[in-house]
């Protein structure tokens, strides 16, 4: 729970108001995430439940957009088949920078239950587009998706805007320092 | 130069440039959209000429009505799914002759306008032009006004009748 409590506090790490411009910009981006929901299969239903009143995904400042141009991150929920894979690539390319990808559920992580005999299933969405956060589960609970969202917000918050380093490396480096 | 002069030259430039785009552009959609700026400029001139009712009417009728109609007309009569909508002109010689003709007319008109001694009355401080126009329309020009209403009605019915698919 330690992790989550820290993430929950928006004024963590020196406070945004007094912080640097980078912090402010990152704060804005992390708190206002418009997403393109790429609903494919079972996970999409749980994702709909996540949008519903009990979980209320909009608490995180997320707003669904149907156009990839306006989306900040794309949520891939479900099994990606080979017939579908090209479309995801196109959609991802249409999104405007900065863009992120959350892969939700076993299927989009690695093919899930279909990884062994699924001749028509793409085994892992990361074979065609880079993935920022993997959420496991088949389907994941809505809370697990929320946790993935918090992880993504954390990633955006800790992103270095100006020195151009790869963000995952940056994060890893920070973690290495912490541990 | 005072504010009015500045505004006039700005509007004049807007009108001339946008009208030139209307006339010379190869892309008919550019022509259509550029027409908006011409209408705008003319409306601006009306404001400078103390005709604010006319200016607003110009915007309302020309931009809100005619221009939308024209754009719809372009879209319905041209393959619009591509962005390069071309419109051809005549051959070079004809264009040359037409250009010459237009230039001659323009120059002669300008010469005539600037050389004529117009009977100028002092620019009146116009009151509420809306009220004045309304009074005129319903007194001196009542017949013309009614005729115009009938014309509009006929135009609506006629347009709907013609454009309807058989």
């Amino acid at each position: 729970m330690g992790l989550l409590n820290r993430l929950d506090d928006p004024f963590e790490g020196g406070g945004i108001i007094l912080g640097k411009v980078e912090d402010l910009l990152n704060w804005g981006r992390s708190k206002s995430d418009w997403y393109l929901h790429f609903g494919l299969a079972c996970c999409a239903i749980e994702f709909m439940a996540l949008n519903a009143s009990h979980f209320d995904f909009m608490r995180f400042g997320t707003i669904p957009r149907t156009s990839p141009r306006q989306a900040d991150f794309i949520m891939i929920t479900g099994t990606v088949t080979l017939k579908m894979a090209d479309r995801i690539k196109i959609l991802y390319e249409q999104m405007s920078e900065p863009k992120y990808v959350i892969s939700i559920g076993s299927c989009s992580n690695c093919g899930g239950p279909y990884w062994e005999h699924g001749y028509h299933v793409l085994k892992g969405i990361d074979r065609i587009i880079p993935v920022d956060v993997y959420v496991p589960g088949c389907p994941p609970r809505p809370e697990a998706m929320e946790e993935g969202m918090i992880k993504l917000q954390k990633l955006i918050r800790e992103q270095a805007l100006f020195n151009g380093k790869d963000r995952i490396e940056e994060l890893e480096a920070k973690k290495a320092l912490k541990i | 130069m005072d504010l009015v002069g500045l505004a006039f030259y700005f509007l004049a430039a807007l009108i001339v440039i946008s009208a030139a785009i209307v006339v010379f552009s190869k892309n008919i959609m550019y022509s259509a959209f550029s027409l908006m700026f011409t209408f705008f400029g003319v409306a601006g001139l009306y404001v400078l000429l103390n005709a604010d009712f006319l200016a607003v009417t110009q915007i309302m009728v020309y931009i809100g009505g005619i221009l939308v109609l024209i754009i719809f007309g372009v879209m319905l009569t041209t393959r619009i799914t591509g962005v390069d909508v071309k419109s051809n002109s005549l051959g070079k010689i004809q264009v040359g002759i037409a250009g010459l003709l237009s230039t001659i007319i323009a120059i002669s008109l300008i010469v005539v306008f600037s050389s004529t001694k117009w009977f100028l009355s002092e620019p009146k401080v116009s009151g509420d032009s809306t009220k004045l126009i309304g009074n005129e329309l319903l007194t001196n020009y009542l017949l013309a006004f009614e005729a115009a209403s009938v014309l509009l009605l006929i135009a609506i019915i006629g347009a709907a009748f013609i454009a309807r698919r058989k």
């Binding site: 076993s106 899930g112 929320e146 995952i168 | -």
Partner: protein, 207 residues
């Protein structure tokens, strides 16, 4: 004409009815459970409910390496190696008191593949593999195989592939060595036995 007026009236009236309902809901208490602060009650097997099927947990002190879970898994996400216990040399026991038949030097579950169907838990004879109520382990990397225990370093990004072993490298080496020795010993004994009683064995085979 009557229909025309009626349809206008119906339109207005039904819109008003709908507006009344939404307005009433404006003042109803919200049902949202704000996740990181509050949590949903997840069934945890008490009070007769089923265990929520989230992440699997394995008690290595109970696991006997019978591989039933691996066989029952429809998606084959459980991979384990076993190492025979050198019977006679060592007599380890499981947590529940039974005799241990095998060491498990590697036991990995790939949660990226797991479909959380619960079939592995139902076949486990010792209840070593169990579902937990924990679901928060999304990560930035898929394949980061890190051999950590479950409980420490919670905020470390462990990836989705988990290794459950509680034996250190040295211990595994030791076990392997013991087993190899034991096997060699056994083989030697067997060889000695076959040399001693070849007839008896051939008889047994023919029967």
């Amino acid at each position: 004409m009557i229909n025309y007026i009626k349809s206008i009236w119906e339109g207005l009236w039904t819109v008003l009815v709908g507006m009344r309902i939404t307005l009433l809901h404006l003042f109803v208490r919200n049902v949202t459970i704000q996740y990181p602060k509050e949590r949903f009650p997840i069934p945890d097997g008490t009070n007769g409910t089923a265990m929520a099927r989230n992440r699997l947990e394995l008690d290595m002190d109970l696991c006997d390496g019978c591989k039933r879970c691996s066989r029952a898994c429809p998606v084959n996400c459980i991979e384990l190696d076993i190492l025979q216990v050198a019977k006679g040399v060592e007599q380890p026991i499981l947590k529940n008191g039974d005799k241990r038949n095998a060491w498990v030097p590697s036991y990995e579950i790939d949660f990226a593949k797991c479909c959380f169907c619960g079939l592995c838990t139902s076949v486990c004879p010792t209840d070593a593999i169990k579902h937990t109520t924990e679901f928060e382990y999304s990560s930035y990397k898929r394949s980061g195989t890190v051999s950590y225990y479950f409980d420490d370093k919670k905020d470390y990004d462990r990836g989705l592939k988990f290794s459950f072993i509680n034996l250190t490298e040295a211990e595994i080496e030791e076990k392997k060595r013991v087993l190899a020795e034991f096997k060699a010993q056994q083989a030697a004994a067997k060889a000695a036995a076959t040399v001693a009683k070849p007839e008896a064995q051939t008889e047994a085979k023919t029967e």
